[in-house]
Amino acid sequence: MENQNLSNNTSNKVIEVSKLTKRFENITAVDQICFTVNKDEIFGFLGPNGAGKTTTIRMLTGLLTPDSGDIFIDNIDIRRDSIKAKMKMGVIPEMGNIYADLTAKQNIILSGRFYGIPKRELGNKADSLLEQFELYDRKNDLVRKFSRGMKQRVNIASTIVHEPEILFLDEPTSGLDVQSQRMIKNIIKQMNQKGTTVFLTTHNIEEANQLCTRVAIINKGKIVVIDRPEILRRTFKTTQSVEISFDKSIDDTLIKKSDLVNRIERLGDKWKMYTDNPDKLVKYLSRFAEDKGLTIIAMEICRASLEDAFVKFTE
Protein backbone atom coordinates (compact mmCIF):
# COMPACT_ATOMS: atom_id res chain seq x y z
CA MET A 1 0.00 0.00 0.00
CA GLU A 2 1.41 3.35 -1.04
CA ASN A 3 -0.52 5.37 1.51
CA GLN A 4 0.42 9.03 1.51
CA ASN A 5 4.11 8.34 1.19
CA LEU A 6 4.69 8.87 -2.50
CA SER A 7 8.34 9.28 -3.13
CA ASN A 8 8.28 8.49 -6.82
CA ASN A 9 10.47 9.95 -9.51
CA THR A 10 10.13 13.74 -9.07
CA SER A 11 10.27 14.61 -12.77
CA ASN A 12 7.37 12.28 -13.46
CA LYS A 13 4.97 14.06 -11.11
CA VAL A 14 2.49 16.43 -12.71
CA ILE A 15 0.35 17.07 -9.64
CA GLU A 16 1.96 17.37 -6.22
CA VAL A 17 -0.18 18.09 -3.20
CA SER A 18 1.29 18.56 0.23
CA LYS A 19 -0.53 19.08 3.56
CA LEU A 20 -3.47 20.68 1.79
CA THR A 21 -6.10 22.05 4.16
CA LYS A 22 -9.33 23.96 3.68
CA ARG A 23 -11.79 25.00 6.36
CA PHE A 24 -15.25 26.49 6.00
CA GLU A 25 -16.06 28.20 9.29
CA ASN A 26 -15.87 25.36 11.83
CA ILE A 27 -15.78 22.53 9.33
CA THR A 28 -12.50 21.16 8.02
CA ALA A 29 -13.48 20.11 4.50
CA VAL A 30 -9.96 18.99 3.53
CA ASP A 31 -7.51 18.06 6.24
CA GLN A 32 -3.76 17.94 5.55
CA ILE A 33 -3.98 15.73 2.49
CA CYS A 34 -0.89 14.73 0.52
CA PHE A 35 -0.64 12.90 -2.77
CA THR A 36 1.01 13.01 -6.17
CA VAL A 37 -0.22 12.16 -9.62
CA ASN A 38 2.26 10.89 -12.16
CA LYS A 39 2.42 11.78 -15.83
CA ASP A 40 0.07 9.76 -18.07
CA GLU A 41 -1.89 8.38 -15.13
CA ILE A 42 -5.65 8.25 -14.79
CA PHE A 43 -5.96 9.05 -11.11
CA GLY A 44 -9.29 8.40 -9.43
CA PHE A 45 -10.37 10.46 -6.46
CA LEU A 46 -13.17 8.64 -4.68
CA GLY A 47 -15.19 9.43 -1.62
CA PRO A 48 -18.73 9.60 -0.29
CA ASN A 49 -20.79 12.79 -0.53
CA GLY A 50 -19.27 15.60 1.51
CA ALA A 51 -15.92 13.83 1.81
CA GLY A 52 -14.00 16.76 0.31
CA LYS A 53 -13.63 15.71 -3.35
CA THR A 54 -15.03 18.86 -4.95
CA THR A 55 -13.23 21.14 -2.49
CA THR A 56 -9.97 19.38 -3.37
CA ILE A 57 -10.50 19.64 -7.12
CA ARG A 58 -11.46 23.32 -6.76
CA MET A 59 -8.19 23.98 -4.95
CA LEU A 60 -6.18 21.98 -7.51
CA THR A 61 -7.70 23.99 -10.35
CA GLY A 62 -7.13 27.37 -8.71
CA LEU A 63 -10.77 28.15 -7.96
CA LEU A 64 -10.41 27.95 -4.18
CA THR A 65 -7.48 29.19 -2.16
CA PRO A 66 -6.25 26.66 0.40
CA ASP A 67 -5.88 27.69 4.03
CA SER A 68 -2.53 25.91 4.09
CA GLY A 69 -0.49 23.45 2.09
CA ASP A 70 1.06 23.42 -1.36
CA ILE A 71 -0.13 22.51 -4.82
CA PHE A 72 2.22 22.18 -7.77
CA ILE A 73 0.87 21.63 -11.25
CA ASP A 74 3.72 20.48 -13.47
CA ASN A 75 6.12 22.19 -11.05
CA ILE A 76 4.11 25.44 -11.10
CA ASP A 77 2.90 26.70 -7.74
CA ILE A 78 -0.79 27.34 -8.43
CA ARG A 79 -1.03 29.90 -5.65
CA ARG A 80 1.73 31.98 -7.23
CA ASP A 81 0.96 31.58 -10.91
CA SER A 82 -2.54 30.24 -11.34
CA ILE A 83 -2.91 31.48 -14.94
CA LYS A 84 0.20 29.63 -16.09
CA ALA A 85 -0.97 26.49 -14.29
CA LYS A 86 -4.48 26.83 -15.74
CA MET A 87 -3.05 26.98 -19.26
CA LYS A 88 -1.92 23.38 -18.78
CA MET A 89 -5.31 22.18 -17.57
CA GLY A 90 -8.70 21.33 -18.90
CA VAL A 91 -11.36 21.39 -16.22
CA ILE A 92 -14.87 19.98 -16.16
CA PRO A 93 -16.38 21.14 -12.89
CA GLU A 94 -19.18 19.14 -11.31
CA MET A 95 -21.61 22.05 -11.53
CA GLY A 96 -20.00 23.57 -14.62
CA ASN A 97 -22.26 24.11 -17.57
CA ILE A 98 -21.66 25.45 -21.01
CA TYR A 99 -23.46 28.52 -22.34
CA ALA A 100 -27.00 27.58 -23.29
CA ASP A 101 -27.38 30.75 -25.37
CA LEU A 102 -24.47 29.81 -27.64
CA THR A 103 -24.33 27.06 -30.23
CA ALA A 104 -22.22 23.93 -29.75
CA LYS A 105 -19.52 25.30 -32.06
CA GLN A 106 -19.57 28.76 -30.46
CA ASN A 107 -19.02 27.17 -27.04
CA ILE A 108 -15.97 25.26 -28.26
CA ILE A 109 -14.57 28.34 -30.03
CA LEU A 110 -15.16 30.53 -26.96
CA SER A 111 -13.22 28.05 -24.86
CA GLY A 112 -10.37 27.84 -27.37
CA ARG A 113 -10.08 31.62 -27.58
CA PHE A 114 -9.31 31.82 -23.86
CA TYR A 115 -6.23 29.70 -24.61
CA GLY A 116 -5.16 31.82 -27.56
CA ILE A 117 -5.66 29.25 -30.32
CA PRO A 118 -5.50 31.02 -33.72
CA LYS A 119 -8.90 31.58 -35.34
CA ARG A 120 -8.55 29.33 -38.40
CA GLU A 121 -6.98 26.48 -36.43
CA LEU A 122 -9.73 26.84 -33.82
CA GLY A 123 -12.51 26.54 -36.41
CA ASN A 124 -10.98 23.33 -37.78
CA LYS A 125 -10.45 21.92 -34.31
CA ALA A 126 -14.01 22.70 -33.31
CA ASP A 127 -15.37 20.90 -36.39
CA SER A 128 -13.12 17.93 -35.77
CA LEU A 129 -14.21 17.67 -32.12
CA LEU A 130 -17.87 18.02 -33.07
CA GLU A 131 -17.43 15.10 -35.47
CA GLN A 132 -15.62 13.06 -32.84
CA PHE A 133 -18.43 13.66 -30.35
CA GLU A 134 -21.11 12.94 -32.98
CA LEU A 135 -22.50 16.47 -32.80
CA TYR A 136 -21.42 17.84 -36.17
CA ASP A 137 -24.97 17.88 -37.55
CA ARG A 138 -26.10 19.98 -34.58
CA LYS A 139 -23.08 22.30 -34.46
CA ASN A 140 -25.11 25.44 -35.17
CA ASP A 141 -27.95 24.63 -32.78
CA LEU A 142 -28.23 26.46 -29.49
CA VAL A 143 -27.07 24.26 -26.64
CA ARG A 144 -30.29 24.95 -24.71
CA LYS A 145 -32.04 22.55 -27.12
CA PHE A 146 -29.64 19.70 -26.28
CA SER A 147 -30.16 16.72 -23.97
CA ARG A 148 -28.02 16.43 -20.84
CA GLY A 149 -25.73 13.88 -22.48
CA MET A 150 -25.22 16.10 -25.53
CA LYS A 151 -24.48 19.11 -23.32
CA GLN A 152 -21.85 17.12 -21.45
CA ARG A 153 -20.27 16.09 -24.75
CA VAL A 154 -20.05 19.76 -25.79
CA ASN A 155 -18.67 20.50 -22.33
CA ILE A 156 -15.88 17.95 -22.75
CA ALA A 157 -15.16 19.01 -26.33
CA SER A 158 -14.80 22.62 -25.11
CA THR A 159 -12.50 21.47 -22.32
CA ILE A 160 -10.08 19.53 -24.51
CA VAL A 161 -9.97 21.94 -27.47
CA HIS A 162 -6.55 23.24 -26.34
CA GLU A 163 -5.22 19.70 -25.82
CA PRO A 164 -4.50 20.08 -22.10
CA GLU A 165 -1.65 18.24 -20.45
CA ILE A 166 -3.81 17.58 -17.39
CA LEU A 167 -7.53 16.96 -17.43
CA PHE A 168 -9.61 17.43 -14.28
CA LEU A 169 -13.03 15.80 -14.39
CA ASP A 170 -15.47 16.16 -11.52
CA GLU A 171 -18.18 13.49 -11.84
CA PRO A 172 -18.10 13.58 -15.66
CA THR A 173 -20.65 10.83 -16.29
CA SER A 174 -23.03 11.57 -13.45
CA GLY A 175 -26.67 11.36 -14.56
CA LEU A 176 -25.88 10.56 -18.20
CA ASP A 177 -27.34 7.89 -20.49
CA VAL A 178 -25.30 4.77 -21.16
CA GLN A 179 -24.22 5.83 -24.67
CA SER A 180 -22.91 9.19 -23.46
CA GLN A 181 -21.15 7.52 -20.53
CA ARG A 182 -19.40 5.09 -22.85
CA MET A 183 -18.42 7.82 -25.27
CA ILE A 184 -16.97 9.97 -22.47
CA LYS A 185 -15.06 7.04 -20.98
CA ASN A 186 -13.60 6.25 -24.40
CA ILE A 187 -12.57 9.87 -24.88
CA ILE A 188 -10.87 9.85 -21.47
CA LYS A 189 -8.97 6.70 -22.42
CA GLN A 190 -7.97 8.14 -25.80
CA MET A 191 -6.79 11.40 -24.24
CA ASN A 192 -4.77 9.43 -21.72
CA GLN A 193 -3.21 7.26 -24.44
CA LYS A 194 -2.11 10.46 -26.20
CA GLY A 195 -0.31 11.56 -23.03
CA THR A 196 -2.88 13.54 -21.05
CA THR A 197 -2.85 12.97 -17.32
CA VAL A 198 -6.37 12.57 -15.96
CA PHE A 199 -7.60 13.45 -12.48
CA LEU A 200 -11.09 12.02 -12.06
CA THR A 201 -13.51 12.28 -9.18
CA THR A 202 -16.47 9.96 -9.30
CA HIS A 203 -19.15 8.29 -7.25
CA ASN A 204 -19.17 5.47 -9.74
CA ILE A 205 -16.77 2.91 -8.33
CA GLU A 206 -17.05 0.65 -11.36
CA GLU A 207 -16.09 3.57 -13.58
CA ALA A 208 -13.00 4.18 -11.45
CA ASN A 209 -12.20 0.49 -11.57
CA GLN A 210 -12.39 0.45 -15.37
CA LEU A 211 -10.48 3.67 -15.98
CA CYS A 212 -8.05 4.44 -13.19
CA THR A 213 -4.42 3.43 -12.84
CA ARG A 214 -4.52 4.47 -9.18
CA VAL A 215 -7.22 5.67 -6.87
CA ALA A 216 -7.26 7.71 -3.68
CA ILE A 217 -10.14 7.32 -1.27
CA ILE A 218 -10.99 10.40 0.76
CA ASN A 219 -13.32 10.35 3.76
CA LYS A 220 -14.19 13.21 6.10
CA GLY A 221 -11.50 15.37 4.53
CA LYS A 222 -8.65 12.90 5.00
CA ILE A 223 -7.13 10.53 2.48
CA VAL A 224 -7.68 7.02 3.75
CA VAL A 225 -5.74 5.12 1.13
CA ILE A 226 -4.03 5.52 -2.25
CA ASP A 227 -3.26 2.52 -4.42
CA ARG A 228 -4.01 0.61 -7.57
CA PRO A 229 -7.63 -0.60 -7.75
CA GLU A 230 -6.56 -4.24 -8.03
CA ILE A 231 -4.50 -4.03 -4.85
CA LEU A 232 -7.33 -2.33 -2.98
CA ARG A 233 -9.70 -5.08 -4.04
CA ARG A 234 -7.40 -7.69 -2.56
CA THR A 235 -7.01 -5.80 0.70
CA PHE A 236 -10.11 -7.30 2.20
CA LYS A 237 -10.16 -11.06 1.86
CA THR A 238 -13.39 -11.25 3.84
CA THR A 239 -15.16 -9.46 1.02
CA GLN A 240 -14.76 -12.48 -1.26
CA SER A 241 -18.14 -14.06 -1.72
CA VAL A 242 -20.17 -16.81 -3.33
CA GLU A 243 -23.48 -16.03 -4.99
CA ILE A 244 -25.92 -18.89 -5.21
CA SER A 245 -29.51 -19.36 -6.33
CA PHE A 246 -31.63 -22.44 -5.59
CA ASP A 247 -34.83 -23.60 -7.23
CA LYS A 248 -36.70 -23.24 -3.93
CA SER A 249 -36.59 -20.70 -1.16
CA ILE A 250 -34.54 -21.78 1.85
CA ASP A 251 -34.14 -20.72 5.42
CA ASP A 252 -30.91 -18.72 5.65
CA THR A 253 -30.28 -19.95 9.18
CA LEU A 254 -29.42 -23.33 7.66
CA ILE A 255 -26.53 -21.84 5.72
CA LYS A 256 -25.48 -19.42 8.43
CA LYS A 257 -24.65 -22.41 10.61
CA SER A 258 -21.53 -23.02 8.55
CA ASP A 259 -18.33 -21.53 10.00
CA LEU A 260 -17.28 -20.77 6.44
CA VAL A 261 -19.87 -17.97 6.07
CA ASN A 262 -18.90 -14.64 7.62
CA ARG A 263 -21.99 -12.78 6.49
CA ILE A 264 -25.00 -13.49 4.32
CA GLU A 265 -27.12 -11.15 2.21
CA ARG A 266 -30.24 -11.79 0.17
CA LEU A 267 -30.07 -10.25 -3.33
CA GLY A 268 -33.45 -10.82 -5.02
CA ASP A 269 -33.68 -14.58 -5.66
CA LYS A 270 -30.00 -15.10 -4.82
CA TRP A 271 -27.93 -15.39 -1.68
CA LYS A 272 -24.58 -13.72 -1.33
CA MET A 273 -22.27 -15.31 1.23
CA TYR A 274 -19.05 -13.59 2.27
CA THR A 275 -16.24 -15.99 3.06
CA ASP A 276 -12.50 -16.31 3.57
CA ASN A 277 -12.45 -19.57 1.63
CA PRO A 278 -14.66 -19.63 -1.46
CA ASP A 279 -13.42 -23.07 -2.57
CA LYS A 280 -14.53 -24.80 0.65
CA LEU A 281 -17.80 -22.88 0.69
CA VAL A 282 -18.66 -23.97 -2.87
CA LYS A 283 -18.06 -27.61 -1.91
CA TYR A 284 -20.09 -27.18 1.26
CA LEU A 285 -23.00 -25.60 -0.67
CA SER A 286 -22.99 -28.45 -3.19
CA ARG A 287 -23.31 -30.96 -0.40
CA PHE A 288 -25.93 -28.81 1.32
CA ALA A 289 -28.05 -28.68 -1.88
CA GLU A 290 -27.78 -32.44 -2.32
CA ASP A 291 -28.73 -33.16 1.33
CA LYS A 292 -31.76 -30.82 1.16
CA GLY A 293 -32.89 -31.95 -2.29
CA LEU A 294 -32.32 -28.52 -3.82
CA THR A 295 -31.29 -27.73 -7.39
CA ILE A 296 -28.57 -25.12 -7.83
CA ILE A 297 -29.72 -22.72 -10.59
CA ALA A 298 -26.64 -20.51 -10.51
CA MET A 299 -23.46 -20.29 -8.48
CA GLU A 300 -20.58 -17.85 -8.86
CA ILE A 301 -17.44 -17.00 -6.91
CA CYS A 302 -17.12 -13.22 -6.61
CA ARG A 303 -13.88 -11.52 -5.77
CA ALA A 304 -13.95 -8.49 -3.57
CA SER A 305 -14.98 -5.52 -5.67
CA LEU A 306 -13.51 -2.03 -5.52
CA GLU A 307 -16.91 -1.01 -4.21
CA ASP A 308 -16.47 -3.43 -1.28
CA ALA A 309 -13.06 -1.92 -0.58
CA PHE A 310 -14.52 1.59 -0.87
CA VAL A 311 -17.25 0.77 1.63
CA LYS A 312 -14.76 -0.77 4.05
CA PHE A 313 -12.38 2.19 3.82
CA THR A 314 -15.12 4.76 4.32
CA GLU A 315 -16.97 3.00 7.14
Binding site: I83, M87, K88, R113, G116
Partner: protein, 251 residues
Amino acid sequence: MLIKYPNKQFFRGVMVTTEKNIRIYYTKAPVMIFGLLFPLFMFLSFYLGRGINLHFFFPGFLAMSLFFTASSVGPLITPWEKQAGTYERLLSFPVSINTIILGDIAAGMIFGIIINIIVIIISQVFLNYSIDIFILLTGILLASFCFSSLGVLLASPSVRAPSHIMMFSSLIRFPLIFISGIFIPLENLHGIARILTYLSPITYLVDIFNFSFKGESSISLIIDFAALFAFTVVFMYLSNRFHKRNLMKGL
Protein backbone atom coordinates in the same frame (compact mmCIF):
# COMPACT_ATOMS: atom_id res chain seq x y z
CA MET B 1 1.07 25.62 -24.26
CA LEU B 2 3.12 28.16 -22.36
CA ILE B 3 2.44 31.82 -21.73
CA LYS B 4 5.08 33.92 -23.42
CA TYR B 5 3.46 37.26 -22.67
CA PRO B 6 1.40 37.22 -19.46
CA ASN B 7 -0.09 40.67 -20.19
CA LYS B 8 -1.20 39.49 -23.59
CA GLN B 9 -2.99 36.60 -21.90
CA PHE B 10 -4.67 39.04 -19.50
CA PHE B 11 -5.94 41.31 -22.28
CA ARG B 12 -7.00 38.36 -24.38
CA GLY B 13 -9.01 37.09 -21.39
CA VAL B 14 -10.67 40.50 -21.01
CA MET B 15 -11.51 40.65 -24.72
CA VAL B 16 -12.94 37.13 -24.88
CA THR B 17 -14.97 37.72 -21.70
CA THR B 18 -16.30 40.98 -23.15
CA GLU B 19 -17.24 39.34 -26.42
CA LYS B 20 -18.96 36.51 -24.57
CA ASN B 21 -20.95 39.03 -22.51
CA ILE B 22 -21.97 41.00 -25.59
CA ARG B 23 -23.17 37.87 -27.40
CA ILE B 24 -25.13 36.51 -24.46
CA TYR B 25 -26.36 39.35 -22.27
CA TYR B 26 -27.17 42.36 -24.49
CA THR B 27 -30.44 40.82 -25.57
CA LYS B 28 -31.55 39.59 -22.14
CA ALA B 29 -34.84 41.04 -20.94
CA PRO B 30 -33.45 42.70 -17.75
CA VAL B 31 -30.88 44.60 -19.85
CA MET B 32 -33.57 45.75 -22.27
CA ILE B 33 -35.92 46.77 -19.45
CA PHE B 34 -33.46 48.42 -17.06
CA GLY B 35 -31.07 49.69 -19.74
CA LEU B 36 -33.36 50.97 -22.48
CA LEU B 37 -37.00 51.13 -21.42
CA PHE B 38 -36.47 52.62 -17.96
CA PRO B 39 -34.52 55.71 -19.08
CA LEU B 40 -36.95 56.19 -21.97
CA PHE B 41 -40.00 56.05 -19.67
CA MET B 42 -38.27 58.27 -17.11
CA PHE B 43 -37.64 60.81 -19.84
CA LEU B 44 -41.20 60.60 -21.20
CA SER B 45 -42.79 60.87 -17.75
CA PHE B 46 -40.75 64.00 -17.01
CA TYR B 47 -41.07 65.60 -20.42
CA LEU B 48 -44.51 64.87 -21.85
CA GLY B 49 -47.24 67.40 -21.19
CA ARG B 50 -45.13 69.68 -19.02
CA GLY B 51 -43.88 72.16 -21.57
CA ILE B 52 -40.27 71.58 -20.59
CA ASN B 53 -37.49 73.15 -22.61
CA LEU B 54 -35.86 70.04 -24.09
CA HIS B 55 -32.86 72.02 -25.32
CA PHE B 56 -32.14 72.98 -21.70
CA PHE B 57 -32.71 69.58 -20.08
CA PHE B 58 -31.28 67.29 -22.80
CA PRO B 59 -27.74 67.03 -21.30
CA GLY B 60 -29.29 65.79 -18.04
CA PHE B 61 -31.45 63.26 -19.85
CA LEU B 62 -28.45 62.04 -21.80
CA ALA B 63 -26.49 61.59 -18.55
CA MET B 64 -29.41 59.61 -17.11
CA SER B 65 -29.57 57.47 -20.24
CA LEU B 66 -25.83 56.75 -20.12
CA PHE B 67 -26.10 55.89 -16.44
CA PHE B 68 -28.94 53.42 -16.99
CA THR B 69 -27.50 51.78 -20.11
CA ALA B 70 -23.91 51.44 -18.88
CA SER B 71 -24.94 50.12 -15.45
CA SER B 72 -27.59 47.68 -16.71
CA VAL B 73 -25.37 44.85 -18.02
CA GLY B 74 -22.99 44.44 -15.07
CA PRO B 75 -25.55 43.52 -12.38
CA LEU B 76 -26.91 40.73 -14.54
CA ILE B 77 -23.83 38.78 -15.62
CA THR B 78 -22.41 37.19 -12.46
CA PRO B 79 -25.77 36.23 -10.87
CA TRP B 80 -26.95 34.87 -14.22
CA GLU B 81 -23.78 32.82 -14.69
CA LYS B 82 -23.92 31.48 -11.15
CA GLN B 83 -27.54 30.44 -11.61
CA ALA B 84 -26.87 28.86 -15.01
CA GLY B 85 -23.80 27.00 -13.69
CA THR B 86 -21.40 28.63 -16.15
CA TYR B 87 -19.50 30.73 -13.62
CA GLU B 88 -17.37 27.89 -12.25
CA ARG B 89 -16.48 26.92 -15.80
CA LEU B 90 -15.53 30.53 -16.59
CA LEU B 91 -13.28 30.61 -13.54
CA SER B 92 -11.55 27.43 -14.68
CA PHE B 93 -10.29 29.17 -17.84
CA PRO B 94 -6.89 30.89 -17.62
CA VAL B 95 -8.41 34.07 -16.22
CA SER B 96 -8.29 35.88 -12.89
CA ILE B 97 -11.19 37.59 -11.15
CA ASN B 98 -9.83 40.91 -12.44
CA THR B 99 -10.04 39.61 -16.01
CA ILE B 100 -13.69 38.73 -15.48
CA ILE B 101 -14.49 42.03 -13.76
CA LEU B 102 -12.86 44.06 -16.56
CA GLY B 103 -14.64 41.97 -19.21
CA ASP B 104 -17.96 42.64 -17.49
CA ILE B 105 -17.20 46.35 -17.16
CA ALA B 106 -16.17 46.59 -20.83
CA ALA B 107 -19.43 44.93 -21.94
CA GLY B 108 -21.53 47.45 -19.98
CA MET B 109 -19.37 50.32 -21.15
CA ILE B 110 -19.67 49.42 -24.83
CA PHE B 111 -23.45 49.01 -24.47
CA GLY B 112 -23.73 52.45 -22.88
CA ILE B 113 -21.50 54.13 -25.46
CA ILE B 114 -23.26 52.64 -28.50
CA ILE B 115 -26.78 53.46 -27.31
CA ASN B 116 -25.90 57.00 -26.30
CA ILE B 117 -23.93 57.82 -29.44
CA ILE B 118 -27.09 56.83 -31.35
CA VAL B 119 -29.17 59.07 -29.04
CA ILE B 120 -26.76 61.98 -29.58
CA ILE B 121 -26.78 61.59 -33.38
CA ILE B 122 -30.60 61.48 -33.52
CA SER B 123 -31.05 64.36 -31.08
CA GLN B 124 -28.52 66.49 -32.94
CA VAL B 125 -30.85 66.46 -35.95
CA PHE B 126 -33.57 68.15 -33.87
CA LEU B 127 -31.66 70.15 -31.27
CA ASN B 128 -28.66 71.25 -33.33
CA TYR B 129 -26.18 71.92 -30.51
CA SER B 130 -22.72 73.33 -31.07
CA ILE B 131 -20.91 70.42 -29.37
CA ASP B 132 -17.45 70.38 -27.78
CA ILE B 133 -16.82 66.93 -29.19
CA PHE B 134 -13.57 66.21 -27.32
CA ILE B 135 -15.02 66.95 -23.87
CA LEU B 136 -18.22 65.11 -24.78
CA LEU B 137 -16.47 61.91 -25.91
CA THR B 138 -13.99 61.98 -23.01
CA GLY B 139 -16.91 62.42 -20.62
CA ILE B 140 -18.85 59.55 -22.21
CA LEU B 141 -15.82 57.25 -22.08
CA LEU B 142 -14.98 57.97 -18.45
CA ALA B 143 -18.57 58.03 -17.23
CA SER B 144 -19.56 54.81 -19.02
CA PHE B 145 -16.54 53.12 -17.43
CA CYS B 146 -17.53 54.53 -14.04
CA PHE B 147 -21.23 53.54 -14.31
CA SER B 148 -20.43 50.12 -15.68
CA SER B 149 -18.03 49.57 -12.75
CA LEU B 150 -20.90 50.43 -10.42
CA GLY B 151 -23.05 47.89 -12.27
CA VAL B 152 -20.42 45.18 -11.77
CA LEU B 153 -20.08 46.14 -8.11
CA LEU B 154 -23.84 45.74 -7.68
CA ALA B 155 -23.52 42.15 -8.98
CA SER B 156 -21.15 41.14 -6.19
CA PRO B 157 -23.59 40.06 -3.45
CA SER B 158 -24.29 36.34 -3.46
CA VAL B 159 -27.95 35.77 -4.33
CA ARG B 160 -30.05 32.87 -5.56
CA ALA B 161 -31.57 34.62 -8.57
CA PRO B 162 -30.55 37.45 -10.93
CA SER B 163 -33.91 39.16 -10.28
CA HIS B 164 -32.86 39.79 -6.66
CA ILE B 165 -29.79 41.68 -7.86
CA MET B 166 -31.81 43.67 -10.41
CA MET B 167 -34.16 44.78 -7.61
CA PHE B 168 -31.21 45.60 -5.37
CA SER B 169 -29.49 47.54 -8.15
CA SER B 170 -32.67 49.58 -8.73
CA LEU B 171 -32.67 50.49 -5.05
CA ILE B 172 -29.20 51.97 -5.48
CA ARG B 173 -29.53 53.42 -8.97
CA PHE B 174 -32.82 55.32 -8.66
CA PRO B 175 -31.81 57.45 -5.66
CA LEU B 176 -28.58 58.34 -7.50
CA ILE B 177 -30.70 59.64 -10.38
CA PHE B 178 -32.89 61.76 -8.13
CA ILE B 179 -30.03 63.43 -6.29
CA SER B 180 -27.98 64.19 -9.39
CA GLY B 181 -29.32 67.50 -10.70
CA ILE B 182 -30.96 66.00 -13.77
CA PHE B 183 -34.46 67.14 -12.98
CA ILE B 184 -33.51 70.24 -10.99
CA PRO B 185 -30.51 72.30 -12.19
CA LEU B 186 -27.61 72.45 -9.72
CA GLU B 187 -27.90 76.26 -9.49
CA ASN B 188 -31.38 75.87 -7.98
CA LEU B 189 -30.23 73.45 -5.27
CA HIS B 190 -29.01 74.72 -1.90
CA GLY B 191 -27.97 73.35 1.48
CA ILE B 192 -28.28 69.60 2.06
CA ALA B 193 -29.85 69.07 -1.35
CA ARG B 194 -26.78 70.56 -2.99
CA ILE B 195 -24.40 68.48 -0.83
CA LEU B 196 -26.33 65.32 -1.71
CA THR B 197 -25.84 65.95 -5.41
CA TYR B 198 -22.09 65.70 -4.93
CA LEU B 199 -22.54 62.11 -3.70
CA SER B 200 -23.84 61.00 -7.08
CA PRO B 201 -21.35 60.41 -9.92
CA ILE B 202 -24.10 61.37 -12.38
CA THR B 203 -23.95 64.98 -11.14
CA TYR B 204 -20.46 65.38 -12.58
CA LEU B 205 -21.46 63.91 -15.92
CA VAL B 206 -24.46 66.26 -16.12
CA ASP B 207 -22.04 69.11 -15.60
CA ILE B 208 -19.67 67.79 -18.30
CA PHE B 209 -22.59 67.41 -20.72
CA ASN B 210 -23.89 70.88 -19.90
CA PHE B 211 -20.48 72.24 -20.85
CA SER B 212 -20.23 70.08 -24.00
CA PHE B 213 -23.67 71.01 -25.34
CA LYS B 214 -24.32 74.50 -23.91
CA GLY B 215 -20.91 75.78 -22.82
CA GLU B 216 -22.14 76.14 -19.21
CA SER B 217 -20.62 74.42 -16.18
CA SER B 218 -21.74 74.72 -12.53
CA ILE B 219 -18.80 72.93 -10.95
CA SER B 220 -15.51 72.74 -12.84
CA LEU B 221 -14.48 70.35 -15.60
CA ILE B 222 -11.33 69.38 -13.70
CA ILE B 223 -13.36 68.50 -10.61
CA ASP B 224 -15.95 66.70 -12.77
CA PHE B 225 -13.36 64.45 -14.39
CA ALA B 226 -11.43 63.95 -11.15
CA ALA B 227 -14.62 63.00 -9.30
CA LEU B 228 -15.69 60.53 -11.99
CA PHE B 229 -12.21 59.03 -11.96
CA ALA B 230 -12.29 58.74 -8.16
CA PHE B 231 -15.73 57.08 -8.22
CA THR B 232 -14.43 54.63 -10.86
CA VAL B 233 -11.42 53.69 -8.74
CA VAL B 234 -13.61 53.16 -5.67
CA PHE B 235 -16.17 51.06 -7.59
CA MET B 236 -13.44 48.90 -9.13
CA TYR B 237 -11.66 48.41 -5.84
CA LEU B 238 -14.89 47.41 -4.10
CA SER B 239 -15.87 45.16 -7.02
CA ASN B 240 -12.57 43.33 -6.74
CA ARG B 241 -12.91 42.89 -2.98
CA PHE B 242 -16.54 41.79 -2.93
CA HIS B 243 -16.37 39.56 -5.99
CA LYS B 244 -13.31 37.83 -4.54
CA ARG B 245 -15.05 37.39 -1.20
CA ASN B 246 -18.19 35.96 -2.78
CA LEU B 247 -16.43 34.08 -5.56
CA MET B 248 -17.58 30.58 -4.67
CA LYS B 249 -20.82 31.55 -2.94
CA GLY B 250 -23.92 30.57 -4.85
CA LEU B 251 -22.16 27.98 -7.05
